[in-house]
């Protein structure tokens, strides 16, 4: 078909599969995102820690290098659940900053110029739109979190042998589920804030605020009510519990408070951390709230009251 053929004509060719259309959104978004040198550099740097981890794993199993340096790396830094948990936490935080660069403008730019009707007047549903926008963050963060994490696990399993691999396969699922939960919550939060806060700088500030302000609020609740249940409001504490639970490191800490007057204990309070299921439930509620807020904004038309 020539470019200069200036007539209206119908399209009679083949169509792309319906299930794959949500991927059009991230594909086009990445064209914009990777145009930024800052972002590209940061994305490349995100692979440094997985690279370092792979070197550490290699050092663990290379007796020549261990002999030359006279170091016992196996005792210094064992490759166990804590090692992989720290990997998930570190890459999760890196992913958070990556999401801060990409996420806040994704929905807002469509809402600002009333672009949503153009998406939704096509064979493209609201849920496909939301999934498409979320997958911008999900694909990017997957590339730096669980995907290299599983490669590290496989590398360690390969060097350590089949018995280690079979015994510790649960760690692979912990890496995957722990990272994916984090990514999903980040993707939902960033899209929700993007839909409600159209100014990019304010949206980024709001995202930061969501991770830090509730921590302070949770501490106030804990102090005032003499409890540890305030942590249920703290997103960082929730993820700390969830990750620890997945890697088998969760310990339900107990605190004690005693009010002493004239040398006598007049009041004694035992403060228990919320159980693990409460952290999962709180995360579920946060996701549900985000979806509800998104559904209020992602519409083909504006509701005028």
């Amino acid at each position: 078909m020539a470019v200069l053929e200036r007539t209206y004509k119908r399209y009679e060719g083949r169509l792309s599969p319906e299930w794959s259309r949500f991927l059009i959104i991230p594909r086009h978004a990445y064209v914009d995102v990777f145009r930024s040198k800052l972002f590209t550099a940061f994305f490349a740097l995100s692979f440094l820690y997985p690279l370092l981890c792979s070197i550490l794993i290699y050092l663990h199993h290379n007796s020549n290098i261990l002999g030359i340096k006279g170091l016992n790396v196996q005792q210094l830094l064992p490759i166990d659940a804590s090692f992989f948990k720290f990997y998930v936490v570190f890459q999760g935080i890196t992913g958070f900053f990556l999401m801060m660069l990409v996420g806040p403008q994704q929905v807002s730019r469509d809402l600002t110029n009333n672009g949503l009707p153009l998406y939704l007047c096509r064979p493209f549903s609201r849920s496909e739109y939301v999934v498409g926008k979320m997958s911008i963050v999900i694909i990017l963060l997957s590339a730096i979190t669980w995907a290299p994490g599983l490669l590290l696990f496989l590398f360690q399993g390969y060097l350590e042998g089949w018995s280690w691999f079979a015994e510790n396969i649960w760690m692979a699922s912990a890496i995957f589920i722990g990272s994916l939960t984090w990514i999903l919550v980040l993707a939902l939060l960033s899209q929700t804030i993007s839909a409600w806060v159209r100014w990019r700088v304010a949206a980024r500030a709001a995202l930061l605020g969501i991770f830090f302000i509730p921590t302070a609020f949770a501490e106030i609740v804990n102090e005032v009510f003499l409890t540890r249940w305030g942590h249920i409001l703290d997103l960082r504490a929730l993820f700390a519990n969830v990750w620890a639970g997945l890697f088998g490191l969760f310990v339900r800490q107990t605190g004690e408070f005693q009010e002493v007057r004239n040398g006598r204990v007049i009041r004694e309070v035992i403060m228990n951390e919320p159980p693990l299921w409460a952290s999962w439930f709180a995360l579920f509620l946060i996701c549900a709230l985000c979806l509800w807020l998104l559904s209020r904004k992602v519409k083909a038309y504006e509701v005028v009251k």
Partner: protein, 335 residues
């Protein structure tokens, strides 16, 4: 009864169905409204709309708040009907909204674009979302932009476009996937006369290509008159007039205004012998509706016999404005 037509014309009924061209009656309906009602917060916005639209270009008229945009949005599946339904190319909007949308292009009334994208990138994205594979989408995006006249500016960001260019970009994204039905909501809004003319020209070209039907919503009667062959007038959510403009124009050719000198009464009486309806509108003025088979020379013959002069004879056509105003006066909108 000198000042009134002998046969008093019937008032326009609640839904006035005016004659349509026979070739259009034969075609399958593009849009079939089947008692379609839409309610927002308990307030009816569209009420029991019924009718079959078959024309190549259908004009949707009505004052602000009549429900034109809501009708388009409902047909696109943005709103759920509170009762009734509609069919587009035989598919039910309630159950087949997604399939229907593959065949529709939509140009919204308000500014709609993604500001920090080049126009070709924007139109390509829209084509891909309509289901076109990436390469075909890019090719058609270039073609659509050349077609609407934005070929030279296609690599500029849409946010930097003038209002007229943004309208053309909206049209390009509406036609890029080659839909069978195109919804145009106020396409000439805010355009200067040359840009408006260009837009009207494009709409007519698409209509005349015979490859797509157009549903054009506008409050500018001239736009609709220039582009459409069928019109649908809404008032307060009700369909008050639905007619074929071409047929209307043909019918109006037989409506004459006469300026006379001489014995008008004898002439008027003799008009009855020809079966013509007439109304005396002044001392020397007559309105006449010619019957089938009656020629103008018959009038001159009668005038000669009545020793009366016909000083002036003009065809009076009901313009779209007349039809619209009549509909606004007679249509029973509201509850």
């Amino acid at each position: 009864m000198d000042n009134a037509l002998q046969k008093t014309p019937e008032p326009i009924p609640e839904v006035a169905v005016l004659p349509r061209a026979p070739e259009l009656v034969a075609a399958a309906p593009v849009i079939d409204l089947d008692g379609l009602s839409v309610t927002f917060g308990g307030r009816p916005i569209l009420r029991e709309l019924r009718g079959e639209l078959r024309g190549r270009a259908i004009g949707l008229l009505g004052p602000s708040g009549a429900g034109k945009t809501t009708l388009m949005h409902t047909l696109l599946g943005f709103h759920s009907p509170s009762s009734g339904t509609a069919h587009i190319f035989g598919r039910d909007i309630r159950s087949d909204a997604k399939q229907i949308r593959t065949q529709i292009g939509y140009m919204p009334e308000r500014d709609s674009f993604i500001a920090n994208m080049s126009c070709v990138h924007f139109v390509r994205l829209m084509a891909e979302l309509s289901g076109l594979p990436s390469e075909a989408a890019l090719e058609r995006a270039h073609e659509a932009l050349f077609y609407v006249g934005l070929g030279e500016a296609r690599y500029r960001k849409v946010g930097t476009y003038s209002l007229g260019m943004k309208q053309l970009a909206k049209l390009a994204q509406a036609i890029v996937h080659g839909p069978r039905l195109i919804f145009l909501d106020e396409p000439t809004n805010g355009l200067d006369p040359p840009a408006r003319q260009r837009m009207i020209e494009l709409i007519r070209q698409i209509r005349d290509s015979g490859k797509a039907h157009i549903l054009l919503s506008s409050h500018l009667l001239r736009d609709v008159e220039e582009c459409c062959e069928e019109i649908l007038i809404l008032k307060e959510g009700r369909l008050v007039v639905y007619c074929n403009l071409e047929e209307e124009r043909k019918a109006n050719k037989k409506f004459l205004m006469l300026e006379t000198r001489g014995d008008q009464k004898t002439f008027a009486a003799s008009l009855s012998t020809l079966g013509c309806e007439y109304a005396v509108t002044g001392e020397h003025r007559l309105k006449v509706i010619l019957q089938e088979g009656t020629e103008i020379r018959d009038l001159y013959r009668l005038a000669s016999a009545a020793e009366m002069q016909i000083r002036r004879l003009t065809f009076k056509r009901d313009s779209l404005e007349d039809i619209f105003l009549k509909a606004m006066e007679n249509g029973h909108g509201g509850s």
